[in-house]
Symmetry: C2
Subunit: 667 residues, 2 copies
Amino acid sequence: MYFLLLVFCALSLPGNLLAQEKNSLALMPMPANVVQGEGEFVIDGNFGVALEGYKEPRLERAQQRFLNILSKETGIPLWREAIQNQPHFIIRVAGPSAAVQQLGEDESYHLKISTTDVQLTAPNPIGALRGLQTFLQLVRITPKSFSVPVATIDDQPRYPWRGLLIDSGHRFVPIAAIKRNLDGMEAVKLNVFHWRFADNLGFHAESKKFPLLQEKGSGGFYYSQDEIRDVIAYARDRGIRVVPEFDMPCHTTSWFLGYPDLTSGKDPSHSSAIDPTRESTYVFLSGFIGEMAALFPDSYFHTGGDECNVKEWETNPRVQEYMRAHSIRNGAALQVVFTTRVQKIVADHKKVMMGWDEVLQPNTPKDVVIQTWRGQDSLAGAARSGYRGVLSFGYYIDLNQSAAEHYLVDPLGENAASLTLDQKVRVLGGEATMWTDIVSHENMDNRIWPRTAAIAERLWSPQQVQDVASMYRRLAIESQRLELYGLRHRLITDEMLERMSGEVDPGPLKVLAAVVQPPRMYQRQELRSFSDFTPLNHLDDAVPPESDTAREFSEIAKRIAAGEATPQDWQQARQWLVLWRDNDAKLQPLLTRSFLTQELAPVSRNLAQVAAIGLQALDDLHENRFVKADIRQRNIEFLESSEKPQAVLLLMIASPVETLVQASRSQ
Amino acid sequence: MYFLLLVFCALSLPGNLLAQEKNSLALMPMPANVVQGEGEFVIDGNFGVALEGYKEPRLERAQQRFLNILSKETGIPLWREAIQNQPHFIIRVAGPSAAVQQLGEDESYHLKISTTDVQLTAPNPIGALRGLQTFLQLVRITPKSFSVPVATIDDQPRYPWRGLLIDSGHRFVPIAAIKRNLDGMEAVKLNVFHWRFADNLGFHAESKKFPLLQEKGSGGFYYSQDEIRDVIAYARDRGIRVVPEFDMPCHTTSWFLGYPDLTSGKDPSHSSAIDPTRESTYVFLSGFIGEMAALFPDSYFHTGGDECNVKEWETNPRVQEYMRAHSIRNGAALQVVFTTRVQKIVADHKKVMMGWDEVLQPNTPKDVVIQTWRGQDSLAGAARSGYRGVLSFGYYIDLNQSAAEHYLVDPLGENAASLTLDQKVRVLGGEATMWTDIVSHENMDNRIWPRTAAIAERLWSPQQVQDVASMYRRLAIESQRLELYGLRHRLITDEMLERMSGEVDPGPLKVLAAVVQPPRMYQRQELRSFSDFTPLNHLDDAVPPESDTAREFSEIAKRIAAGEATPQDWQQARQWLVLWRDNDAKLQPLLTRSFLTQELAPVSRNLAQVAAIGLQALDDLHENRFVKADIRQRNIEFLESSEKPQAVLLLMIASPVETLVQASRSQ
């Protein structure tokens, strides 16, 4: 089935990509240029690798990391031996990269694989890092050996800013979780780790100048400066910049626990906005930003600026007084004043300020980078006004959208497509955003991966690479490969199901879990109340944002409805529907045993009923039977009601079953 | 089914244990004394914990680790909050433990759980560590909440030496793998990490005095002294001693690469034995042992001594000359000379020497500890002669025996049971041995866990705790819990199956994998040739040493044969047999695609044929039909031939199917 899909889809791709799709190169992101040849390069115990040309310890570590993954991938102990063996794989780097990784630094590489040897050349170590990951993705098992196909790859990214934001503000994220996600970022060639440190309920970075920030604001859980430096070095090893975000002037309650004078509210613990009217605020911020600017070597410094509750200012007599005295007409205008001051402080410390849409104001200096949660229109507007921007709208991976939805969002799509070339250059790229309002470090991996690999492809690969079916096929393979890097996205669901059910093998719960999804966008928060301390141990926390089973079933249902189904399609659909129909009887007794699963009883019943309707429709279609109009209508109504969330979950097979029912002929 | 088994088995247990078995306390190792009460202590977001009495940073770290696991177990973010909440769980420690953890130090604790609060008291921090793990094992999910049952537990270990040997000599084991296994050891109350550093093909510890040991002998992979100190501190935090082993005078080829003068052979790289006749050898060893004795704070120092190829001495003219001059009659006697000298060096550095059976000689000082791979007889003999000993015979977890086999081996079993009380005290305990000849750090976890938990129970719990069915029930739960500690034993099989097949979801391969086992004892090495560099990526490397499915099927087959089966038994047996019979058609096309799975084709065919015979027998038994004697005989012959290894794998359902066939009535 995959093979058919593949050939079909490949027809719409340009030459090189067509060639590689035909041969199923499971690369993600797809390189800019691939020419595939005949034959393969065999990987066995004789595999040897060597660094030539420019050398530095980072390259040696990269080589070692490469061998560790290759050893895991093949089971051949090459991690030590490949350095001693006669080298057939030569890594040749022309010269060093910048001492601190720069935006727009060359990431290109040339990878030439013949049947006898491999040449990886790159202008600098960053390009070599990218090429090593491409090679690892090419490794496959055949009837004869492990091997990579003969190919010549010339590759470089489309956008220079390809990021992942991890929000350590809402919830503290342990260093180990940060690091394994940096490993995942390297695997898919992302190059910016946007690290957000504080929010109303927590301040999670160490300040030595203002130690009460973490002492009062962190509950004891914060990153020491040594740990931060260690993460920065870890990221640099992987060709990843670290851009810190300290969100201000709002989302800052946690700052006030140690430094109540900063607040604009009467009660610091119920205030979320810094007072922009006091000179002492800027003295503090100058000291703080100065300290952090020294800690984080990157040229960019993110000061947030989003979603400010300006009412807090507008209702504070002292602030009102100031606004009158300075003819500031409202809170939004006051934020402009604040942002202008902060931007100067950031610039004084030799950094370029970055902020969310809100920081863009008429007098904002042109070097400020705008990160947009509002969309390509906002990004295009900024670019037209001479500002550089990064898109995050459409890449909010906490909102449980499908990989396909994220994949088809392009920083230069929508209104931005009509920008001039000069303006387009200002669109730097995009960032996936892992907000942790209702995601913890435990289930974070399953929100980030594998979907972020699809976003990474959008940001790296040529614009015309946008075949969704091909993306899903390669994503499934990449998702599995990411396990080699220690990511837990595939494990976490099973582990959480076991714990919430108290069962060693909760088989029937897994069947249900495979076909439900948490609601998209902000609907989850409407259905359950969450704080930053809410236990995230329900089924909607455990399941991946996207049900692969339901998507595959949906494709089959469409083919059946369109009269294009294969015998395998009919068989698979029936098998699944029987499984789902019969699951409820097994699952119900299990659900009653745990307070966390009791809420799933109606969801499980629904699954059984929907599946029963689906089976009937399948039979009707197969036998080409007429269906009574009223029964058909009743079924459709039931299916549509089953598409609504229950226990904060969507039953994803209701809609494809409706496709089947709709396809049946009514009397 | 489990419940029935449980009640049945519980009848043979003493009072307290009976009470707790009835209530399904999934503790492992089972405590010495449990009195269960009515009701439960609820764990929710208000859970608070506090340290009272004696305090030290190690206890604070233990408390934090406890909260991390509890948070993972429940999904409730308690890791930070529980320290701030009003405490209902009080940990009260009377005083410090020894600066360096001592053999026989008190590990007792008292845990009192009421519906409103929990008191954990212990004479020292080690006891508190043990009690915290017991509490974590009691956490369960109910229809109302997470909770632990009301109970009073008084606990202490039966043996003071409860160890796990990890062999970093044959294959280097990364620190991360060492650490997660130390976490697992803590979970099941093991207290000695026996760390073996060198073998013929590798020397993996850093010596600053003799740096060529690691520089020439490690291929670049060795533990720095800083890393070793870090592991020792990590282990101490978990109440675990670290006993180093440097095996001598044999298994030492890797030493000679840097220090060829040590060898007794002509060609150092083909010699495995240190020259015991040169004075310079002892000068070297005194320096080396002195350095290592300072690095490892434990009072015990293991010098190996096993399996010496004394022929190398007996054929070396210079050594022969020395033996003649000193009237040493053979190589074994020469090893006695060597061991005597080494023991003095070890003693000079204020350490007690430990060694394998071979070091026990007539003049061996009485404080030397004997570790026995030979068995309880050897241990009993040593104890009668006044020596202390540790049993490893029966705990060789690299040999793919069942948990039950290991579980029933007792250091004071067999001949040792007849020791006097004074002599019994010299039997210190036992050690599971994770040799890495044909296990790598990748699949190591699946050899160590969960079976080592059964050994840990043997060494901790009262002697009369030996109900195998109860052990397996609790082992399954503990195996799942060990995931919370980061152990990879359950994941590794799936990951390896995916990689060896090149499939994202190799379902039919999993079905086969669930019913095969690697051959027991040393038969694997007879069937495939292995070196320390052999890739371990075949199915016999991937599957656990014990098939749970086959064991359960075997129990069902026995009940059916005995006429004691339930309707569920019949149904489950049929379901499995159908699955196995029909699996081959799906699996064969998949097997051809990978060079690693091609060898499994006949195993898969066998599974189908065995299952078909099993289904027929099931029908015959169910219908109470007579079977033709010649067909019956032919089937039995086929089944017996199917019990022989194929592709280095045993098909574990052949024998239970034979049970079914044997039970059928023949004409």
